[in-house]
Structure formats: C-alpha cells, structure tokens
Symmetry: C2
Subunit: 413 residues, 2 copies
C-alpha cells in the first residue's frame, strides 16, 4: 500500500533542493532554481501519466485528456517561494493534486472530464513588483504593461521570461474559454493556526477575504518633554495609540473581521520630545465585504472624533481595496463531502491571504482546500505540513474529483 | 533713559552672528565661533566694569570685587547652542545679568559682596557626549575621564580644549570653596508655553525637575495579518498602545508630573504583519521625587498586569534617574520680591529641563528666573524672547541682587 503523504513529502524535499543557497527555500521565477523545479515536476507528471507542456507565461501544465469534447478541471498553485521561505507554500498545491491523479490512475479511476495540474511561475511577487502572472494569463486579465517592470538587478520581466525560453508577447493568447473550464481547485497550507488549534488536518475555504488598507497620518505638536505642560499637549503618539486600540477593538468585537495596525513610525522619535507626527497603517480583511467596509468607515468616523477631541490633524486615506472572492458553493459542497470521507469534521474557514485562486475566479468557479501547518507558520524555513495531513488532502482531492464527476448536471461534462 | 531690553537684544544679535553658517545659531564649545562669542562678551563685560578672565575649563568670568573679605554671588549660564538652535537659550542668561550689573553701576549702586558673571563653555552636550563641564568644575564634581571623550571628528575633548588655549588638566583646581560663595542665579528662556499662556514676562523657578527614563520592550508573536485569527493574537503594538495611553493618563491625572512616550519602534513594521516586538521609552519629570518615583513604579505594575492579560513578554527597565533640585527658598523669596517690583504677578513654575544650575546646586544655593519665550519654542532658529521681557528680567535681576545684599544674616556678607 502506497503512503501518499510520504510520497508527497519526498517529492517536496526534492523540490526544496531547487533553491538558492541559504536558509529555507528561495526559488524565484524565471531562474535556474525555477528551471530545476520544473524538471522535477515534469518527471512526476509523466509518472502520473500526464502530458507535459509549459505555456508562454511559464506555467507548467500536466494534462490528462477526458472523453472527447469534455470540459477541463484545473488544479494547482505556484512554484515560487519568498526569500528564505519554506518547502510547502505554493508548491504543495502542485504536488498534492498531481499525486491525487496518480492515485486515481493507480486505482483505475477514469474521470469524465479532462484535468490539468498547473504550476504557476510567480504568485509571491518577490522578484518583480507584480504577481499572479500565470493565473491572470489564463483568466485573460494579464496586463501587458507589467512586462516592463524590472527586478532588483534592473532586468525587465520581458527579458527574464525570454531568457527562460518563454514568449511573453504571446501571453495574451493564453486566456481560456470559460465555457471549456469546469473549475479550479487550489490546495494550500493554511498559513494560520486555526486547523492546528482545532486538531484537524484539512479544512474547506469559504471565501478569500477582501482587503482594505488605510494610511493614517496623525499630526500634533512637538515640544520638550520636560517643559511642555501636560495640559494642552497635542501628542501625536497618544492619538495614534487610541487608533491602534480602536482597530484591535473593531477586530475583536466583529465576527469575520481581521483588523491590524502593522506599521507605525514616530517623528522625531526621541526620548525627550513630545511626538509631532505618527504615520500608521490599518488593514481590514473579511470574507464579507459589508463587514469590511463598515469597519473602514467606522475607523474614519473614529479618527474624526479623535482629531476633534485632541486637537490633532488626522488624515486617513483608504489606499487599497479588493473585494472578497467567495468560493463556489457547488465545488465547496463537493470538497466538503470529500473531506468528510477522509474522516475530517469538515471545518470551514476563510482565507485571509490572496492566492492564485483569487485571479482564477475571473475565469471559473473556484474552491480551496487548506492543510494544517505547524504553529501556523509560513514564509519561513520552519514552515511544515505533516505527511499524514498531506496524505489526507490527497485522498480528499481524489474524492473531490470523483464527486465533481458525479454532477454532470452542474458541470456539463 | 537706557532701554535695557533693546541693549540685550542688540548684544544677543551680535552674539548670534558668532555661529557656523546655516539656519539659526550653531555655536559649539572650543570652536572659532565660541572664540568669537567670548570676544564679544569680554568687551561687554569691560563696559560693565568687570574684570575678565577665562578659567581652565573655558568658562568666561567677569568679576566685580566687593568689600574686602566679602563672599561672591555667581550669575550666568552657557554660551553654547544646539545645532541650528536659537539666539537666546543659554547665552541670554549671560547677557541679562551682565547688563543688570552695568545698570547697577550706572545707577551708582554698590553691592555688599563680589559678583561674577559666568559664561560656561558647554551645557548642551552636542559636540562631546558630556555636558555641564564648566559648572561641574566649579562645583568640584567634574569627572576627569570625560577629557578622553571624542567629538564626531574623533578629536578628544582634552585636545580640543588645549587647542583652544585651555589647561584641561588643571580643571580639578577650579572647585570653589562653598564658604566663599553666596549663591548662583541662572536666567533662562522658559522653553515652554506657561508664561506666554499666563501673559507674564518672567517667572520664578521652584525646582529643577527630577527625571527618570524607562526602556520598555514588548514582545508578542508576529503572523500574517490576514491568516492569524484575532482570538489569541499576541500583538506587541496593541500592548504598546495601552502603555502609551497609560503614561499619558498618569501625566494628565497627577499634579506636577510630566509623562511622555517620546520614542517607539515596531518590528517587523509592515502593513500585513502582526507586530512582533515594540521598543518604547517612557520619561517622567517632576519637581517632587516621590511623585515621579510613584509614577515609575505605577508604570511597572501596569505593564506586569498588561503582560499577564495579553500573554505578552514586557521588560521595563529604569535606565536613568536624576533627583529633583529644589531652588533655595531664601534666594527664590528675594527673586519673587524683585520680580513683583517690576510689576510681575510673581508666578512660580518648575523647570522641566536640566540647566547649569543643576550642577551648581552641588556648590551653593541656586535660584532660577525664567523669561517668556514665543510659542514655547527653543532649540530652533525661531526661538525668541521679546526685548521688553528681557528688560523686565534685567530690572528683576538688579533688584534681586540688592535684595540679597539686604539680608546679611542669611548670606553673611
């Protein structure tokens, strides 16, 4: 009997070796490390009886045909890592469905549709100031202007892709026909502690959270900490502290909201001067856009009142907003059934982070399967998913594909 | 009739020209700018009929003898400025008593004791990482080890002083005999807004505040702002915000306390990461050491409880403590009487900042006279004291010296 979890772990370790030297895994897109990883994956795809190709955006595709005229189901994630990242984020979402197809083939199961395993070149956006190149190409939302963006060494993305043997100017032709795609499943480590706390190996994602970010600038008046009386002080940091507390309060008291002040800087930032100005960020994430917007609006009201009370000038600007991306109810239902068949309780959770699935949602229905990760840690060398948990995910993915195949009325295969 | 305030302003403008190029006044100790200022002051001292000398620590001394065997009253402040500072901080405390002596001489008043006007070389501690060289020398508290300290160009203090024509190794011989000194009066701009808010030109200082500083390190746990659930977060910045609010609350609710968080830095300080660690300072100043210590102890209790409640690790260390220096009740009474004689209401206030008088208190009774400064601003090119206010201070100083002279039982002249 094959231990699919151990197979996944062995393949992921082989892929982790495709890395720049240094702690953990550093595998940036369109590099020799990327090339090495593609070779390892190609071999594994061939073992799973998949036909291998690389598209113009650098996405490695392993395809198994279905019955003539059938639609295609897509599964995958990204091959790239952050600098000094881990061996699971992204790449595990390529390896597990790949092994699920090998398992189905070993069990003699034929699916009533075509399947493709996708290994996108770049999701993290670490090398170039853009991300989601491969998934946007398939969804037809790729912006050609990003080809002129440069990496830290001054190389344009276009040149890096061309040197890698790709045809960046053909990316526009990669858009898939939505009528021919059933859906997209992304498998990913949770990057959070929820499943670990709940003692569960896998969970079904309900939605990818919407995000909004605010830049807040609090301006008061500096002065000597010894000579400026307390009465009448306009201390920018005292104002900012109230904002930090309020953002946390909003997050603690509202269901389905994550609220964080991540960055804060003080001027002049010396021990004996009353702070003149503080710049801080506030970020809200929620699977429910109304909840998220209400929190942002609430913060703006709060800072207006605070500015009045403390005679401060506070400018708050919503600098970024991205709506939530709900997962397909039908696909998620299939995924839930499949998860429960592995003995899982069928927990659901939102994804707080953005994924390739966010971009794929412009093309087709999406679903996401989260795998427990140790201590909720990702983007670090210590990142770890247990082989047994990955084995459970492989079983769930194979059950999922069979469940999708049993719903021809929905997916019209 | 002589306008003494205008005389002060003219002399201060002449001295302000003794500056490095650039905005405001930059006059560091043992530099050509220092030399130029001493020449201007020497000429003014001779006009006031004072005998001029420079001691081994670089203190310019203008002395007028009293009756044979009489003690000496000292008045003065420092000649140096911060970088791009103003024309009044320090140097005004040399010019005003100097003109007060000229005024007394013009009016034919002889004092029953000797007087000296002192222009200390260095109080700000901008060039070398030490300060109060001249006043500590007179008080006998000068530490010879500081002669080895270096400025930003690597020059030791000893060499800078020798090049300036001084004899640093003789500083140990400068200590005055306390039995021969009546007291020390320092006149200084307030560096705060109290007198301006009260509409008063001058005020009498009750004490130089004691200071204590705390370094606080809050350590929690970082994580992705999207994937880490709110429940169970150990957000170091949320903890630090509570500390900032508490320090301000202590200052607002306690009489005679100034409480400030001046510096705060966040790690990793990015928009989408829960803060892992925050380092911040807390400073308390009070003319009453018990009040100050109670606030420091209260903060330590607060952070212990906070650490427990939020599962944070918080280390709070008292890194610096300096006791308050009360002004002499007898001298302050004379100063109050003198101030009222100019039409002042006789307001009292503590000094939140340290001054040469802090060091002189180790030698003799001290008193301080504060002069209103515009917008409470100091250490900036915009620093300004009005000629009329300086004129009032000159009159008050001359009355003060006469009042001291009328108390032979106290000062044994």
């Amino acid at each position: 009997m094959i231990d699919w979890g151990q197979r996944a772990e062995a393949l992921l370790q082989e892929l982790a070796a495709c890395s720049e030297p240094g702690p953990g895994v550093t595998r940036l897109p369109f590099t020799p490390e990327h090339r090495a990883a593609l070779e390892v994956l190609q071999e594994a795809m061939r073992r799973a009886d998949l036909t291998v190709s690389v598209d113009a955006a650098g996405t490695l595709i392993g395809r198994r045909e279905g019955p003539p005229g059938s639609k295609t189901f897509l599964l995958g994630s990204h091959q790239d890592s952050v600098r000094e990242g881990g061996a699971y984020d992204g790449i595990m979402g390529v390896v597990l469905p790949l092994l699920a197809l090998e398992k189905l083939r070993a069990e003699g199961v034929d699916l009533p549709f075509a399947v493709e395993i996708l290994a996108f070149a770049d999701e993290e956006g670490v090398r170039f100031p853009t991300a989601l190149i491969g998934s946007r190409a398939l969804a037809g939302t790729f912006d050609r202007d990003v080809l002129d963006m440069r990496d830290g060494d001054g190389n344009p993305l276009r040149d890096a892709m061309t040197t890698f043997g790709l045809a960046p100017d053909r990316i526009g032709t990669l858009a898939r026909n939505p009528d021919e795609v059933i859906g997209f499943l992304e498998t990913h480590i949770e990057q959070g502690p929820y499943l670990e706390r709940e003692g569960e190996a896998i969970g079904v994602v309900t939605a990818i959270c919407g995000i909004e970010r605010h830049q807040i600038e609090v301006t008061g008046e500096t002065g000597h900490a010894g000579t400026l009386p307390m009465k009448g002080r306009r201390d920018a940091l005292v104002g900012a502290a109230a904002i930090v507390s309020e953002v946390d309060r909003l997050g603690q008291q509202t269901t389905d909201l994550r609220a964080t002040v991540g960055a804060l800087t003080v001027e002049p930032n010396v021990v004996n001067a009353v702070p003149r100005a503080v710049r801080l960020t506030a970020e809200f994430r929620s699977p429910d856009d109304d909840i998220r917007r209400k929190a942002g609006d609430g913060l703006h009201s709060f800072v207006q009142e605070l500015a009045r009370q403390r005679s401060l000038t506070i400018e708050a600007t919503r600098t970024y907003a991205q709506d939530a991306q709900p997962c397909s109810a039908e696909l998620s239902h299939c995924l839930m059934t499949a998860a429960k068949a592995t003995g899982a309780r069928g927990l659901t959770l939102p994804s707080g982070a953005t994924h390739d699935a966010s971009a794929m949602a412009d093309l087709c229905p999406i679903a996401m399967l989260f795998v427990r990760c140790r201590d909720g840690v990702s983007h670090k060398p210590e990142e770890f998913a247990a082989p047994a948990d990955m084995g459970a995910a492989i079983v769930a993915i194979s059950h999922f594909l069979m469940a999708v195949g049993q719903q021809p009325e929905t997916y019209g295969v």
